[in-house]
């Protein structure tokens, strides 16, 4: 909403500097986004063209004698519309203006143009910063005072309001005036409305009915006959322009003017084109259509409210008029409508037709029905003043929704105290509310009943009044206290803690956290999961773009895309992880959101260094991360070979704990590497379901083991085992011995001296007892048992 201060001052005596006013409004909830100055035309005055004669050396230029109030100067002018007698905007030499040739603001110099010295300039809109036009000069009204500085005559300041949806009232100049009045301690003067009614009784000339009162609470109208259509006067055009509305003709301009003044959208029909002088407010009928004022033919549905004459729709109620009843140059009689339409329905119509107008902007927020006749009379008065004509007697006022008007609202000092935590006299509240236009009646020592002014639609409960009071007295006057109520007991959500723990552990394992959008394309998804494994992921109706249309059921695709982007900037090492939700659709319910962690490792194992650490990150680096994190969480995971389309055959493991799958780990399939444009020869990836992990974390069962007082005995064991026996199985067999405390694999070897189909594994095996020093005999006996079990269970034997 653009509020020209020159217009605002018509209703409220306001002398604050614009910036100070803007600040006060903003603090009170009417945010001023910008303060636009119109003017700063130093050296410009209202001038008058005394004579115009052709320039001898140039056809399109003329030489003008201009009176400035103090002297007469000769000026060269190129505008076709310059004429003797015109009042014009005259810039003396030295004025700073927009130069249409250089595109900059420059000081105006005396210039010799085709042999004649021009001692100033007659300005166009562009040079004054008033608009884009520079073909013609600005012609001022005849009564413009000669010689007066242009700033004084037509300078202005415009407040650009950025309103929250509740402050409908400030979409009008008068509504804003009430706000300003309350903030500056001034009173508001509403325009006086009175006009002669020389015509017949209005009811004789028009019949109006509301067929669907749920969508139209009130419909008021007047008829004005014998008007003449023409341009509206300059002052009205100027105000409309500054408020951002394009002038059209006197009748349409009045409806817009009153809308800006009072907030009530109005519509003028050509009375002669309303068939049978009948207006019916009703829902559209099946098959009906209407060509609206913007020239578009619109097919109507029964949700749309129309204004119809005896036969057809002639307008969309509260949205836009119909071309079939439009005011034209030949219109002589006007039916003027000022009605109250239902907000939600109006909004729905505007959305379904993609047609948001100045009218719907207001109606959708719910205008008060009290406003309709007030604005109607004001507009009738102005039309009669500006376009002539005779007004029918009285107004039509159909008001089926009279019963449910906003009731007065009670406010007590107790409520103020309870909500704000401050003591405020009810008299103080009354003073504030009255300054905003509320009508207050004290109903006791410490309460009042406030009647909400008709321009406000946002006040219906006591808390609303509390806000009215505090936003005007200012939030600084409220004390600052700390919560004094007891802290509620709360059992922390274990998942929140676990997610934080997992993130910390991954970071300490050298992984960098990334956060991706949770949306992916179906193509990317199909690159990392087996088709038969996924039910179709949830799709967005209005994704930001086609590549982000599905809610991800896995973190893999996003993480690989992020890796690809970063591989463009360096060679690694890349150790990236993400902890986020994946979304599994459920029938008729919100999707299951599972906390998931995933990581990707690629590139060199270490940063470039003079201390060499060779090699590329591989499967076992990834496994090291997963195993360390799980181990730190107290989860003893097992890994078993698995097949997964994301991973290279034979290079993928399922991660399990207590028989439950926690996730997957592996080196990517070359096809996946190329599908995601990854440039490492090998990329390792893991994904863990944190929800599943939480089931495997037994925090409460963690128990202290006392430290053994007896020494550790270590034996080295070199074994020969069939190649297909997993190493984990061998460790497991060794660990079954009661006195084995740990097993450390230190070498794996195949090749020379190892028979085909076998592998050599070397271990440190540590023995320790809780209750005695182990003798060599005890250790040897245990070792013999282990070797027997290995032989029997997996065919492994001591390497000779």
């Amino acid at each position: 909403m653009r509020v020209p201060l020159s217009w605002l001052r018509e209703y409220v005596d306001m002398s604050l500097p614009p910036d100070e006013l803007a600040h006060r409004l903003t603090m009170a909830g009417v945010e001023v986004g910008d303060v636009i100055e119109i003017g700063s035309w130093d050296g410009c005055v209202v001038g008058q063209v005394l004579s115009v004669r052709p320039h001898l050396q140039a056809d399109r230029l003329s030489l003008c004698q201009v009176a400035t109030g103090v002297d007469q100067l000769e000026v060269v002018c190129g505008a076709p519309n310059v004429a003797p007698g015109q009042k014009i905007c005259f810039a003396r030499v030295g004025a700073v203006l927009y130069n249409t040739h250089t595109g900059r603001h420059e000081e105006l110099k005396a210039a010799r143009i085709r042999g004649v010295v021009s001692e100033g300039m007659i300005c166009s809109e562009l040079e004054l910063g008033l608009g884009e036009g520079h073909e013609g000069i600005v012609v001022l009204p005849e009564d413009a005072p000669l010689g007066v500085p242009l700033d004084d005559y037509m300078g202005d300041t415009i407040l650009e309001l950025e309103l929250t949806p509740n402050r409908l009232d400030c979409l009008s100049i008068l509504g804003t005036a009430h706000e300003v009045a309350a903030l500056t301690g001034k009173a508001v003067a509403h325009p006086e409305v009175a006009y002669p009614e020389g015509g017949p009784a209005v009811g004789d000339g028009v019949s109006i009915s509301i067929a669907d009162p749920d969508l139209c609470r009130r419909y008021t109208a007047t008829v004005i006959r014998g008007i003449s259509i023409g341009p509206s006067p300059a002052w009205m055009q100027e105000r409309l322009t500054r408020a951002g509305v394009r002038p059209i003709n006197n009748v349409v301009d009045v409806t817009n003017y009153v809308m800006l003044e009072f907030n009530q959208p109005l519509h003028a029909f050509d009375y002669q084109r309303v068939k049978e002088r009948t207006v019916i407010v009703r829902r559209a009928r099946p098959g009906e259509s209407l060509t609206t004022l913007d020239g578009v033919e619109r097919r109507l549905t029964s949700n749309i409210l129309v204004i119809a004459d005896a036969n057809d729709p002639i307008g969309l109620g509260g949205v836009i008029g119909g071309a079939n009843s439009e005011i034209g140059p030949d219109t002589t009689d006007v039916l003027l409508e000022s009605a109250t339409f239902d907000g939600p329905n109006n909004r729905e119509t505007a959305q379904s037709l993609r047609l948001r107008t100045e009218a719907t902007l207001r109606f959708e927020k719910g205008l008060r029905p009290e406003l309709a006749p007030i604005a109607l009379r004001r507009a009738t008065q102005l039309i009669q003043q500006l376009a002539g004509g005779i007004v029918d007697q009285g107004i039509v006022d159909v008001f089926p929704g009279q019963e449910d008007s906003i009731k007065p609202v009670l406010l007590s000092a107790g409520k103020l105290k309870r909500v704000l935590g401050m003591d405020l006299e009810i008299g103080e509240a009354q003073r504030v509310l009255e300054s905003l236009g509320f009508d207050c009646q004290l109903t006791g020592e410490s309460s009042l009943l406030a009647t909400v002014p008709y321009w406000r639609n946002d006040i219906s409960i006591e808390e609303d009044l509390v806000e009215e009071v505090v936003r005007i007295v200012g939030y600084d006057s409220v004390p600052t206290t700390m919560l004094s109520t007891p802290i509620p007991y709360h059992q922390a959500r274990p998942m929140t803690r676990l997610v934080a723990q997992v993130k910390d552990l991954l970071a300490s394992a050298g992984m960098q956290e990334v956060i991706n959008y949770p949306v992916i394309s179906l193509e990317d998804l199909q690159r990392v999961v087996r088709d038969d494994e996924v039910t179709l992921p949830l799709r967005l109706s209005n994704p930001m773009n086609a590549e982000q249309a599905y809610l991800r059921p896995t973190l893999r695709a996003s993480l690989l895309s992020t890796l690809a982007v970063n591989q463009g900037h360096g060679e690694g090492p890349f150790r990236l992880f993400e902890v986020g939700r994946v979304f599994n659709p459920r029938n008729g319910e919100l999707p299951e959101e599972r906390e998931t962690a995933a990581g990707v490792l690629a590139g060199r194992r270490a940063e470039t260094s003079w201390l060499t650490a060779d090699g590329l990150l591989d499967f076992y680096d990834a496994k090291g991360v997963v195993d360390s994190v799980l181990g730190r969480l107290g989860v003893s995971a097992t890994y078993e070979p698995a097949e997964d389309p994301s991973f290279a055959p034979g290079r993928c493991a399922r991660v399990l704990a207590d028989g439950t799958t926690l996730g997957v780990l592996g080196e990517l399939h070359p096809g996946v590497i190329s599908a995601f444009d990854l440039n490492a020869p090998q990329v390792s990836l893991w994904e863990l379901d944190i929800d599943a992990l939480s089931g495997a974390v037994h925090d409460t069962t963690r128990e202290f083991q006392s430290l053994s007082r007896y020494p550790v005995a270590t034996r080295d064991l070199a074994l020969l085992a069939p190649s297909d026996v997993p190493e984990a199985r061998i460790e497991q067999i060794m660990s079954q011995s009661r006195i084995v405390t740990s097993v450390e694999l230190f070498d794996v070897y195949t090749g020379e001296n190892v028979p085909e189909g076998s592998k050599s594994l070397a271990f440190h095996v540590n023995f320790q007892s809780r209750d005695q020093t182990l003798t060599a005999e005890l250790v040897n006996r245990a070792l013999d048992g282990i070797l027997r079990n290995l032989e029997r269970q997996v065919g492994a034997s001591l390497r000779s």
Binding site: P344, G421, Y475, T485, E513, I515, F577
Partner: protein, 353 residues
């Protein structure tokens, strides 16, 4: 005792010590020891010559000789350790490390700046008795809007451009969406809990909005809610003031102005005085754009309709709610000028935090 013997011992000691002072390595020391103290050394030779003296004289000269011997031995020891020290120093000099060479690189992981800032924010509130809860990112219209006093067709819905999920229920409605704020958890928490309530809700939110340097369609919010008997706007001020000091420094001042969110009444937003220019608003401050103040969060007293909607007794309970954007806080704290950097995950950005 003949003068000559005393004399020659003294001379010998004098010469020996002078020579010792010139010895700089163990080899020279060895030669010196042999020359003076060896079995055929000069002192021994002198002492051996004593045999020609009478007993009395021999005893006196012997004592003198032994004293000289002990003295020379002590000097030898001292000199030996001096030389060893010098040699040690010299070899250390040769093995000196270039301490400016880079250390062995260790892979250090980091948390995303958003995670770090969320932790900073939530810990400020948990210190004031707030508990962390989380909610679903995919929500129903009911929780995202309706229970927050934003019914269907309410013009305030324009404040949250919504990304909708392609889902239709049996009545033909399409009520599934990506939550536009963390506020739905206000309704969910109160629905599930009897008062008192004091929670903080971090989480992802989504808006159907074009992205630019200050707008992301995917972002985080941290929501707060405190409901109990006797909670007032003054408590809201105190809590948020304390938060501002914890995050931005003890000297911070805060300012509240009227703002509108349908689920609070009264509604405000809170600014802190600019930490870059100390609230001076002097020209050219990029952080506060010369206003001296920086808006950091929206807040207000929980709307009675929201309380009533979850079955709370509005005559008994009051509360406040607030919400803020961790990315904005991070941008302010670290001087980041483009929000899109957060989720494009460029390591050159992430590694700065």
């Amino acid at each position: 005792m003949p003068e000559s013997i005393t004399q020659s011992i003294e001379t010998l000691v004098h010469n020996a010590l002078a020579e010792l002072g010139e010895a700089h390595d163990s080899q020279t020391l060895d030669q010196w020891r042999v020359a003076y103290l060896g079995r055929r050394g000069r002192l021994t030779t002198i002492l051996r010559g004593l045999s020609q003296l009478d007993l009395e004289e021999r005893r006196a000269a012997g004592a003198l000789g032994n004293k000289a011997k002990r003295s020379l031995e002590e000097h030898l020891d001292r000199r030996e350790s001096e030389i060893r020290q010098v040699q040690l120093d010299r070899s250390a000099e040769l093995d000196r490390l270039d301490v400016t060479l880079p250390g062995r690189p260790l892979s250090m992981g980091r948390l995303h700046p958003t995670t770090q800032v969320i932790r900073e924010i939530t810990s400020a509130f948990t210190a004031m008795g707030f508990s962390i809860v989380e909610g679903p990112e995919v929500e129903w219209d009911k929780y995202n809007f309706e229970m927050l006093n934003i019914p269907q067709g309410h013009p305030a819905r324009d404040m949250w451009n919504t990304v909708w999920v392609d889902y239709q229920n049996e009545s033909g409605e399409r009520p599934m969406l990506l939550r536009t704020h963390t506020s739905p958890m206000q309704a969910r928490v109160m629905e599930a809990t009897k008062p008192p309530v004091r929670v903080i809700v971090p989480g992802k939110c989504y808006r159907y909005e074009a992205t630019d340097a200050t707008h992301e369609w995917h972002f985080y919010q941290v929501e707060g809610l405190a409901v109990d008997e006797g909670i007032t706007f003054a408590d809201l001020k105190g809590t948020l003031y304390e938060f501002a000091r914890r995050l931005f420094g003890e000297e911070r001042r805060v300012r509240f102005r009227c703002d509108y969110f349908p689920f609070v009444e009264p509604g405000v937003d809170m600014s802190i005085d600019c930490f870059a220019c100390d609230g001076e608003g002097t020209s050219g401050c990029r952080i506060c754009r010369d206003s001296g103040w920086i808006e950091i969060m929206g807040a207000g007293m929980v709307h009675p309709r929201v309380l009533a909607g979850v079955g709370y007794d509005t005559e008994k309970y009051t509360g406040f709610a607030f919400g803020l954007g961790p990315e904005r806080i991070a941008m302010l704290k670290y001087g980041i000028d483009d929000i899109r950097l957060f989720y494009s995950n460029d390591l050159r950005f992430l590694r700065q935090f």
